[in-house]
């Protein structure tokens, strides 16, 4: 449960950044394993790439693209927060990161289907 003192947009932005980072960290070993198949077992790699076109996998990949984008833009937001002169538009920046990630994920989905 999200405790009352945490219910403000910038805390949610923090949590989204943390969870997307964790999810990407869990995904990366799998990603590298699949890529390594191209070198070690080309036949298996080929059959896996076929499976990638399955609609459910496309939806999952869209989720991954969203996580990657939201972690990327969220990271830029934090770097700006820490290294550039302070701006009072922190919520706007967080909202922009979310909107841009949603846009990129949708663009990926439309190009993949």
């Amino acid at each position: 449960m999200i405790r009352p003192h945490r219910s403000h947009p910038l805390w949610y932005a923090f949590m989204l950044h943390r969870l997307s980072g964790l999810a990407l960290a869990l995904f990366l070993p799998f990603h590298f394993y699949v890529l390594s198949l191209a070198l070690t077992n080309a036949a298996r790699f080929g059959s896996f790439i076929e499976w990638v076109h399955h609609p459910l996998v496309v939806v999952a990949e869209t989720g991954l693209v969203f996580l990657l984008a939201v972690h990327f833009f969220g990271g830029l937001r934090l770097i700006a927060l820490e290294f550039l002169p302070w701006t009072s538009r922190q919520k706007t920046l967080a909202a922009f990161a979310l909107a841009a990630s949603f846009f990129i994920a949708c663009a990926f989905f439309l190009s993949a289907i």
């Binding site: 405790r3 009352p4 003192h5 945490r6 403000h8 910038l10 805390w11 923090f14 934090l78 927060l81 820490e82 290294f83 302070w86 922190q90």
Partner: protein, 253 residues
């Protein structure tokens, strides 16, 4: 009619009835919420509610306050799960489904009931080199300060802290890292880093750059969200991070 008697005719209690108020009772880690029925007044702060309970219902209730006008920083408590200065928090604004839950400040040990032990909060203030180190003596002429300078403006923006520990209670970095100096202490350090009369800039930046210093901040920005004086400790800590990174050699690099 005599003025005093006219005043006495004013009803102390409006017709709005009573409200349920849950108050944390206990010592140290052990305790539970106790419910009180408190009369609803037209104009009433959370501190009024706590005082009413102590004066009219249970004189053993322990809490802390002093000025009642938002200057001293003594009366902060958790109200419906959020840290607030209770003397300036109106009941009407925070009542949830007609009820109120009042608890001692988060992230600090409890002495008794609503009184949190502020020792570590103030110790960290000193640890962050929150003490002013003068660069001149009383024999020197008074140094003219340019209030338009960028450094002075940054210091002034952060200087109105009353040390109520609302930010400290709001901060999840404090809850997950007991060594973390916290928003108030680091905010104070930032005002002194920007104070041209101070002589301990290097010592202070070292103090806030180590374990539990400014780099332990995760930028949740809860301190900024809840500061009753509308200060922005996150911005101050970001300033410290920049100054700290500019001086990597202090980390032994």
């Amino acid at each position: 009619m005599h003025i005093r008697e006219a005043w006495k005719d004013e009803p102390l209690v409006s017709n709005s009835g009573t409200m349920k108020v849950s108050v944390w009772r206990g010592q140290g880690d052990v305790g539970q919420f106790e419910e009180f029925d408190v009369p609803v007044l037209d104009n009433q702060t959370i501190l009024d509610v706590v005082s009413w309970i102590q004066q009219e219902s249970d004189p053993t209730l322990t809490y802390r306050f002093a000025c009642r006008v938002g200057m001293c920083g003594s009366c902060a408590m958790m109200v419906n799960g959020k840290p607030r200065w209770t003397c300036r928090t109106h009941v009407k604004k925070v009542r949830k489904d007609g009820a109120i839950e009042i608890a001692p400040l988060r992230n600090l040990p409890v002495i008794k009931d609503l009184a949190a032990d502020m020792t570590e909060f103030f110790d960290k203030w000193v640890k962050a080199e929150g003490v002013f180190h003068p660069s001149k003596t009383r024999e020197d002429p008074i140094e003219p300060i340019n209030h338009e300078s960028n450094a002075r403006q940054q210091a002034s923006a952060a200087i109105e802290c009353i040390n109520c520990a609302v930010c400290y209670a709001a901060c999840d970095s404090v809850s997950s890292n007991s060594d973390y100096l916290g928003p108030a202490a680091l905010n104070r350090a930032w005002t002194l880093v920007n104070d041209e009369r101070d002589s301990a800039a290097e010592q202070r930046l070292k103090a806030v750059s180590g374990d539990g210093g400014c780099h332990s901040c995760h930028s949740h920005q809860s301190c900024m969200n809840y500061c009753p004086n509308e200060l922005n400790p996150t911005a101050s800590i970001a300033g410290l991070k920049r100054e700290s990174v500019k001086n990597l050699s202090w980390w032994g690099w």
